[in-house]
Homo-oligomer: 191 residues x 2
Amino acid sequence: MILRSEVRRAQERTMELFARAGIVLTAEERERIEVAGFGLGQLEAQGLELITYSNTDRYCAKELVLFPGQTCPEHLHPPVGEEPGKMETFRCRWGTVYLYVEGDAAPDIRAVIPAGSESHYTVFHEIVLQPGEQYTIPPGTKHWFQGGPEGAVVSEFSSTSRDEFDIFTDPGIVRAPTVVEDEASGEEQPH
Amino acid sequence: MILRSEVRRAQERTMELFARAGIVLTAEERERIEVAGFGLGQLEAQGLELITYSNTDRYCAKELVLFPGQTCPEHLHPPVGEEPGKMETFRCRWGTVYLYVEGDAAPDIRAVIPAGSESHYTVFHEIVLQPGEQYTIPPGTKHWFQGGPEGAVVSEFSSTSRDEFDIFTDPGIVRAPTVVEDEASGEEQPH
């Protein structure tokens, strides 16, 4: 679960990073920025913010935000029915993103693996993306990525997105945890 | 044909508009910005500038630029083999774009139809896109679009792009005209 107030704060920070990147959202889009904490309860360390512009049966486009040092946990996109797994191109628009995929491991990676989750990060072929740089992740390839010191804004162009089929290395991850209203949580509501 | 010097000037103007929109290209991408004059010899009135970020057998992403008042001529994307025509989402990033598709015609359209080409513009259902706004054009739908007073920068998310199959309403259009080096053209080279 994630508290509504935490979602709101993360949406505001996301909008600040979009503003720095010159990216404009409609009012409707601002309201539906997705804050993915993956059920781990440590959004700052392991999480991702995103807005889906379009997800059709033929293609998908999203804008992703990583806060400084925030990590999207290792996962892969498996085949769904007759279709091969999701293929995706990450294009860095602002900031820096450290991306890790299967392949020759870097001797010293630039990212910091989230403490306590070391065993759930297993691929270390490093790609560093600065604004204007991009990388295409083949279907079925394990990958994870982390925002640099200022965070990152990343455009994702891909085949159809079916997040519910994603396979995370960490078995404790829940892709779409429940958002809990602060009043219902028993905790004091922040202002 | 289009002169190399005209291509270079259009690429530089394109980079200026990308800079205003906060969009960064790599050096390699800057060199291959496509300047499409459609063989009409009137790039300012009818033309389009674009960079293709990724075009795979599953999806495509491009960034389009329209100079102020510049028009991408009316066309449609037909089925290719077993696949339905290209489907595309236009997302305005900067400036204003006037988009016209099949459907109820606007009584007074905001765009100005390129003089002398009136008969090649036949659909007038108007969509005006400001930054953050987007519209998805179904396969096989005639459409054309024009940059507003400041021009426009538009992200295109789509299914696989096969420009060579596009069907233009104007039979005089050539989708990929030859670029002619200035020295070979018999015309005086600028500078």
